[in-house]
């Protein structure tokens, strides 16, 4: 009997732990579900396979970039250079392919190049030199954009490599490869966040860089790591984008870092650092994707889509102090009960 009781208590503890772990992004998940119910009831084509496939593959670039951005935001920073990094990596990919490099070698070079850019530019300047993350990533964004424009001479490079096009349009087991990449990226990000020292150190660094340093964490390495990770995610997003467009374009989506930051915030990661996670970010990206897709199908102007997304973003971020207040109250009640 006591064993059964202990087992039950442990189970209850696990459930509580799980609920506590999800409470930061539970609201977005609930909103996602409500949106799906509303849109599928109101719009007959919303739940069609083609539309769901469009919704997910259309969110693939933002998904991968946002996962990388989550680590940066948890470390109390932001990476404004992700879109420019994507443009640079995409253009390198197309140039290598047109020069006759094999697909997999070109992909490997692009990922290594992205990692090097993230580590040596943003990572070193922020982590080692201690410069402000906003200024550094703004500067690298501008510089990378200029490099893309000079390198491309405003010309788009068409890509007809079968591997790259398969990333954009191919399927595996009937599911688009872009969706498989999204799932793999999420699984890896969850693993890094929860089961590696690096993941835990990112939270510690973001919570208080001084405390982390005093407790023996090499915070400069952690910061180099998060900006490297973010740049690698931008490199992967570039592979998806080039595959979907069938070309490497010098046009850079400068709004992408802000969209990614919005998804990260919606997913419960705090801008102050130290709190959050990639699962919430995934829910945040889905929120943006579902909302835009549904409102688009309903024929609602993109301006209203922006208004609605903005309001919900403010509400979601506004929930943060409320969450803290409720958490404090709960803690106080617990203390009173214990005393």
């Amino acid at each position: 009997m006591p064993e059964t009781k202990a087992h039950g208590a442990a189970k209850q503890g696990n459930v509580r732990k799980f609920i506590r772990g999800t409470e930061r992004y539970a609201a977005v998940v609930i909103i996602d579900i409500v949106l799906v119910i509303v849109f599928s009831t109101a719009l007959p084509g919303f739940l069609s396979v083609a539309n769901i496939s469009n919704l997910l593959t259309g969110s693939a670039v933002l998904w991968v970039v946002s996962l990388g951005m989550t680590f940066v935001v948890v470390s109390a920073g932001i990476d404004l250079a992700v879109a420019a990094q994507m443009g640079l990596s995409g253009y390198l990919l197309a140039t290598l392919l047109l020069a006759g490099t094999s697909s997999w070698l070109a992909i490997s070079i692009v990922l290594v190049f992205s990692a090097a850019c993230g580590a040596l530019v943003n990572g070193v300047l922020i982590g080692k030199a201690g410069l402000n993350f906003f200024v550094v990533t703004l500067g690298s964004m501008t510089a990378f954009t200029g490099v893309v424009n000079i390198w491309s001479d405003t010309r788009t490079l068409a890509v007809d490599d079968s591997v790259i096009l398969a990333i954009g349009y191919g399927t595996f087991l009937g599911v688009p490869i872009a969706i498989w990449i999204m799932l793999a990226a999420l699984a890896i990000a969850v693993y890094i966040q929860r089961w590696t020292y690096f993941g835990r150190d990112v939270f510690a660094t973001g919570g208080s860089i001084e405390a982390a340093r005093l407790s023996g964490i090499r915070t400069s390495r952690i910061l180099i790591g998060v900006y490297t990770l973010s740049a690698v995610c931008a490199g992967i997003a570039a592979l998806i984008q080039v595959g979907q467009l069938g070309a490497a374009s010098p046009l850079i989506t400068l709004a992408l870092p802000l969209q990614a930051a919005a998804a990260v915030l919606l997913g419960g990661t705090a801008f102050s650092g130290g709190v959050g996670g990639v699962v919430g970010t995934a829910a945040g990206v889905l929120f943006i994707g579902i909302l835009q897709n549904g409102l688009g199908l309903a024929g609602i102007s993109s301006y209203w889509q922006q208004v609605v997304t903005g309001i919900i973003l403010v509400l979601a971020v506004g929930l943060d102090p409320l969450r803290k207040l409720l958490g404090d109250l709960r803690r106080r009640r617990r203390l009173v009960r214990q005393s």
Binding site: N54, A158, L245
Partner: protein
């Protein structure tokens, strides 16, 4: 006579009136105007100013007039690359009015100047059952696989300004394109400047974002300006596609070139910015813009902009739908048509200019 013929006649009348007005303005109001003879640029090469004879002159300006009822039911998807742009919004509104007139369903998407959004919108239009998509590609070489998908589904894709030159091959999947005549526009702008400041030193304002169509326009402005005896001494790019960005670019041009006689800007907001920069610097120069939007028209009225040219936004919207309708009705369409810019809008012709909203109101009335 069909409604379309009547409307085309109206457009022709507007153009004729504008052309006559502009001709008289340039002949009487702008010093150095010479329409019957080549430019009198001292020492420079010369080219006839009277008529555009460039590569776009030979293109048709209309698709075949549609027979209403030839297609029972159809859906037109319109992809607006930048809903906040007055010119593009006018193209969209005209396409919507024409679709309504022909009895079709119209779905518009705003790409927000984002190539990923454009791709997603294109794919969503396929899911929504569009029979034809009017696409203004942000990057004409991109979207290849998606357009191929549309072709496989039998969806007609008509592009706007897909290639810079009509002689360039259309990318696979496009049935035809409506061109706004970048070379024609460039010729018109250079002509207005050559008439105002013959043989003068001029600066160009381009766009810092690498949009191929705008880059081509700026290159052609340089070409035609030099052909007309003007001396292009510098170029600066507008980083923001706004009047503020145009002001920054013009300030740099004015600072670097004390003898600058004029600035040709790729659009009216840039021209308005250049006018502000010249005023601040206390310089009296000629400024030529393009599009004929509120910035340009107001600038011409105030006398800060020498000339602008109205882009035929309404004609482009209407013709895009007609081209798609023709293909759906089984009528063969040319690979490209061009909608040339209006004649110069100057201080003396500006009163007679019909704004896009006035043209749209007329179009909507003709459809009722």
């Amino acid at each position: 006579m069909s409604q379309v013929s009547r409307r085309n006649m109206k457009f022709r009348k507007v153009y004729t009136a504008l052309a006559l007005g502009a001709a008289s303005t340039l002949a009487l109001g702008i010093p150095g105007a010479a329409f019957s003879a080549p430019t009198a640029a001292p020492g420079g090469p010369s080219v006839a100013l009277s008529e555009y004879k460039g590569v776009e002159a030979a293109l048709p300006t209309h698709y075949a007039e549609p027979k209403p009822g030839a297609v029972k039911s159809f859906t037109i998807g319109f992809m607006n690359p930048s809903g906040g742009n007055q010119n593009l919004q006018a193209v969209q509104d005209a396409a919507q009015a024409e679709t309504k007139r022909l009895g079709g369903r119209f779905i518009a998407k705003n790409d927000n100047v984002d190539i990923n959004t454009q791709l997603n919108n294109f794919k969503q239009l396929l899911v929504q059952g569009a029979d034809a998509i009017l696409l203004y590609p942000l990057d004409p070489k991109a979207l290849g696989p998606a357009i191929k998908q549309a072709k496989e589904k039998g969806v007609v894709v008509i592009g706007y300004d897909v290639t810079n030159q009509a002689s360039d091959a259309l990318p696979e999947g496009y049935v035809s394109q409506v061109m706004q005549g970048r070379d024609w526009q460039a010729w018109s702008m250079a002509k207005a400047m050559a008439s105002a400041k013959p043989g003068g030193q001029i600066g160009l304002i381009g766009f810092a974002v690498p949009v191929p169509g705008i880059e081509y326009l700026v290159q052609r402005v340089k070409y035609w300006s030099e052909q007309m005896g003007l001396k292009v001494v510098g170029r600066q790019d507008n980083r923001e596609d706004s009047a503020a960005g145009g002001k920054v670019a013009a300030t740099a041009l004015l600072g670097a070139n004390p003898q600058l006689a004029g600035i040709i800007a790729y659009n009216d907001p840039s021209a308005a910015g250049a006018a502000a920069a010249a005023r601040i610097a206390g310089r009296h120069i000629s400024i030529v813009g393009m599009n004929g939007d509120d910035f340009g028209v107001q600038g011409v009225k105030k006398g800060t902009i020498t000339a602008t040219f109205q882009n035929d936004a309404v004609g482009q919207g209407v013709q895009g739908v007609i081209g798609a309708y023709d293909v759906l009705a089984g009528i063969k369409v040319p690979k490209a048509i061009v909608r040339p810019p209006s004649a110069a809008i100057t201080a003396s012709t500006v009163k007679g200019v019909k704004s896009w909203s006035q043209q749209l109101a007329e179009l909507e009335r003709s459809g009722d």
